[in-house]
C-alpha cells in the first residue's frame, strides 16, 4: 500500500532533563539494572571539568532537572563539586543512590553543596530477600542512609524496582517507605534493558501478581495523599499499548554515560547502526539539534504503518525504539508491546514464561577478557 500520509516535521522541543550517569561502578549487583552488559571501567570516566562543562551546556539548552546516577554516584569524590555547579546553574538536582556510602558526614557535605532531593533505592521490605536481590549485604546501610537523610531534613524519596521477586510484598514495601518517613515513593515495575533483559525470565511477574498489586497501590495512593506521594508504574508488557518512552526520542531527555556518550535514553547503546557521539568532541547543543543519533527517530518520518497513521502516535510515539530493536531486530517497528501489531506475540511468549524458576545473573563489571553477552 502506498503511504500517502505526509510526514509531520518534528517539533524541536528543548530538553528539560539530563541524566548524568557518573560511573558504572556500584557496590550492588541488582539483576534488574538497566546499565548495559558491557560497561566501561573507571579509567575511561569523564573528568570533573568534563562534567561541569556538560552541566553548563545542558542548562544553556534549557535543562532544568538533573539526575545524578550511575552505577553509584557516591563513588565519585567530585560529587559535591558537581552538585554545587548544578545549583549555581539553577538546576534541580536529584541524587539517585543505593545509600551505600551515605554517611552522615557525606550527606552533610552534599546538603551544603545544595542537592535538592535524595532518592534511596530499596530492593524489598524483607531484608533477606532484599539482599538476595542486591547480591550483597546492604539493608543495614540503606536503613542508616534513610535515617541520615531524614535527620538532615533533606527531601527524601524511596525508589523500589518491582518484579516477580518482590511484587507480592507491595503492601509491606509501602509501609516500610512510610515508616522511613519518605516524602515520596516511586514504585516502578521493572523494564527490560541491559541486565534486566538478561534476567527477564527471573524478573517477569505473573499476571496474577500484577492484578493483585493494583488495588494495593491505589489504596495506598489515597491513604498517603498529602503525606507521601506515591507513583506506581505498571509493567508495560501487561498493557495493550506501549509507553511514551522518555517522552519520545530526542524530545525532552538527554542521558550522558560515564564514558561521555550522549544518548536519548539508556537503551540506545543496544541499537546497532547508531552513531554514538562523545560530549568531549561536540557541544551538547550540536548533539541535541544536529547529531544523527538524536535525530534518528524524531517526528514520524521514520515510522512504518500502523504507527504512521495511528491516532495514538502523538501519545506514545510508537513506544520504545530500543525495545522494538531488541525484540524484533528493527528499531523502526512498533514497540511490540502494542497489541495492534503481530510482533505482540513476542511479548506474549515472554509473559508465558513468567513464574518459571530462574536464577539471577548478577550485575558486574566484566573482568579482563570477559564478554557477558546478550540475553
Amino acid at each position: 500500500m502506498t503511504d500517502l500520509t505526509p510526514a509531520t516535521p518534528p517539533a524541536l522541543l528543548y530538553p528539560t532533563t539530563l541524566l548524568a550517569e557518573l560511573t558504572y561502578r556500584c557496590p550492588l549487583h541488582c539483576p534488574y539494572c538497566s546499565n548495559p552488559l558491557e560497561m566501561s571501567r573507571a579509567d575511561s570516566e569523564l573528568s570533573t571539568d568534563d562534567w561541569k562543562r556538560v552541566l553548563s551546556q545542558a542548562r544553556a539548552l534549557g535543562v532544568l532537572q538533573l539526575g545524578l546516577s550511575g552505577g553509584e554516584p557516591l563513588i565519585r569524590k567530585d560529587l559535591e563539586e558537581l552538585i554545587a555547579h548544578a545549583r549555581a546553574e539553577g538546576m534541580y538536582s536529584t541524587l539517585v543512590t543505593s545509600g551505600l556510602g551515605l554517611t552522615r558526614a557525606r550527606a552533610e557535605r552534599l546538603k551544603a553543596a545544595g542537592v535538592d532531593h535524595v532518592q534511596v533505592s530499596f530492593q524489598d521490605s524483607d531484608p533477606v530477600n532484599a539482599e538476595k536481590i542486591a547480591g550483597i549485604r546492604s539493608v543495614k546501610q540503606k536503613m542508616e542512609a534513610a535515617a541520615v537523610v531524614k535527620s538532615l531534613d533533606l527531601a527524601f524519596s524511596v525508589n523500589v524496582v518491582l518484579h516477580r521477586g518482590n511484587l507480592d510484598h507491595l503492601q509491606e514495601i509501602i509501609e516500610l517507605a512510610a515508616e522511613l518517613g519518605a516524602d515520596r515513593l516511586e514504585l516502578a515495575n521493572t523494564q527490560y534493558y541491559g541486565w534486566a533483559m538478561k534476567n527477564r525470565t527471573a524478573l517477569m511477574p505473573t499476571r496474577a501478581q500484577v492484578e493483585a498489586s493494583k488495588p494495593i497501590a491505589e489504596a495506598a495512593i489515597r491513604k498517603y495523599k498529602g503525606k507521601m506521594q506515591i507513583l506506581y508504574v505498571l509493567p508495560d508488557y501487561y498493557e495493550k499499548y506501549p509507553k511514551p518512552c522518555y517522552g519520545g526520542w530526542g524530545r525532552v531527555y538527554i542521558l550522558v554515560t560515564p564514558d561521555g556518550r550522549a544518548l536519548p535514553c539508556h537503551g540506545a547503546t543496544q541499537i546497532s547502526g547508531l552513531q554514538f557521539v562523545d560530549v568531549r568532541e561536540r557541544s551538547l547543543e550540536w548533539i541535541w539539534r544536529e547529531s544523527p543519533i538524536f535525530n534518528a527517530f524524531r517526528g514520524d518520518g521514520w515510522m512504518k504503518e500502523p504507527c504512521r497513521s495511528c491516532p495514538r502516535k502523538d501519545l506514545d510515539f510508537g513506544g520504545c525504539r530500543c525495545q522494538a530493536f531488541a525484540l524484533t531486530g528493527d528499531a523502526t517497528n512498533a514497540d511490540p508491546v502494542c497489541t495492534l501489531v503481530p510482533q505482540r506475540a513476542l511479548i506474549d511468549a515472554a509473559l508465558a514464561e513468567a513464574g518459571d524458576e530462574a536464577e539471577y545473573v548478577y550485575r558486574h563489571l566484566p573482568a579482563e577478557g570477559e564478554t557477558v553477552g546478550t540475553a
Partner: protein, 90 residues
C-alpha cells in the same frame, strides 16, 4: 484532606520555586517535573509558607490587586494540592 479557606497551604517540601533564565519564565521544580508559573501563580505560591490561611493569602493579594480573588486563589491552590505540589497542613 481537601483544601479549604481555613487551610494553611505550604509548598511541597520537594518543590522549589525558581526562575528559568533560559526560557525567562518562573518555574516550579520538583522531582521529575517542571511547571511554568505565571506571575499570579507565583504571587500565590510565594505566600504559601504554612503560616497563612488561604483566606489570608486571598486578602493580601486582594489588597495588592484591588480585586476580590478569594475563589480564584482557592481554586488555584486546590488544583496544586491535587497534584501534590501544595500540602494543606490542617
Amino acid at each position: 484532606m481537601a483544601l479549604t479557606a481555613g487551610s494553611h497551604p505550604r509548598l511541597w517540601r520537594l518543590a522549589r520555586l525558581d526562575f528559568d533564565r533560559v526560557r525567562q519564565r518562573r518555574v516550579l521544580l520538583y522531582p521529575e517535573g517542571a511547571m511554568f508559573i505565571n506571575d499570579t501563580g507565583a504571587a500565590i505560591l510565594e505566600l504559601c509558607d504554612g503560616t497563612r490561611t488561604v483566606a489570608e493569602i486571598a486578602r493580601t493579594l486582594g489588597e495588592r490587586y484591588q480585586a476580590e480573588v478569594g475563589a480564584d486563589v482557592l481554586e488555584y491552590l486546590a488544583g496544586m494540592a491535587q497534584r501534590d505540589l501544595v500540602t494543606a497542613n490542617d
